[in-house]
Symmetry: C2
Subunit: 186 residues, 2 copies
């Protein structure tokens, strides 16, 4: 049942990533990236954000296309539900980051993946954001991620891949550790 | 130039929100929400996430439609750039959350907004995720948010609105404070 290690292809170019690691080890200023989003208020709780340019490898970079996203609150918050809620975007980012990591680590370990599904749930007590109880935080009090993975590997090897993905995940770090955010009005 | 306070309409139903606060103060179990996303690996670093159902007010709820999102890495990471990066999704969530808060607080304070634009930049040293330097964190080392707001209000009042939005923002809290994330393999 095990795919020949020679033929493992999860679609991740590990050689290029290892090459980038070598290149940036000797030129670490190239590793300084800046990711950006701009957000325009549409009305009510509905906003539209765009992502296109970023900075890295010492110069301005760009996605192939501009990605746009609507955020809104749902009807149970007396809003119009024009998009996913902002906190759901955080779950999507976490899911995408951990899953890309699983594919990359599996490729590096020469393990063929057949399917990867992540199911995320973040619990939140609205008494925080509604200002009912100042002891209740505004954000998630807990996030659970469950992976269902079909791969040519033992359960133990799959768990080790997921653990390594966590260890190198940008969004996992952002969510689990404090990050400074400065907000100013121009 | 100041809109009559009677006519202030930012599209936010503040009465409904204040009513919800009253209702949930006496029935706090209704304030327990669970937000969800599911993510399917497509190939390489490309995944597709969906958001539809959530739990709140004591029962299963649903968005009017399913929202789907592609996450990927850009071409400079030897990927195919099928979607925004996971960390950009975090910026989008933060932008949407703070902007919805600005609209809600302005409505509550009877201040008419004309336009709100948020510009976000998160800096990140890739030496973390590439495993070059274990002292470098994986996530953002800093996020800057700049608001340009046109409203019938003084700069001081606008700054106070933005400060209050930060104070009640779920995503601002998630990013600036640690949140527990458990990851398991089924």
């Amino acid at each position: 049942m095990r795919t020949s290690e020679m033929n493992v292809d999860n679609g991740v170019n590990v050689e290029a990533l290892l090459g980038a690691r070598d290149a940036l080890t000797s030129a670490p200023e190239g590793a300084r990236f800046k990711w950006r989003a701009t957000c325009d208020w549409v009305g009510g709780t509905h906003s539209r954000s765009s992502v296109k340019g970023f900075f890295g490898l010492g110069e301005e970079q760009s996605h192939k296309t501009s990605f746009t996203f609507s955020t809104d609150h749902p009807e149970v918050f007396a809003s119009e539900d024009h998009g996913a809620t902002p906190v759901e975007y955080v779950l999507v980012g976490l899911a995408g980051c951990l899953t890309a990591g699983v594919a990359s680590v599996a490729q590096n370990r020469k393990i063929q993946l057949h399917s990867v599904k992540a199911t995320l749930e973040g619990s939140m007590d609205l008494q925080g954001i509604l200002g009912i109880d100042s002891d209740v935080r505004n954000g998630f009090d807990d996030i659970r991620v469950v992976f269902d993975i079909d791969a040519d590997a033992s359960k133990e090897d799959i768990e080790a891949i997921v653990a390594q993905s966590q260890k190198r995940s940008a969004v996992f770090d952002i969510v689990t550790n404090p990050t400074n955010v400065s907000v100013e009005v121009r």
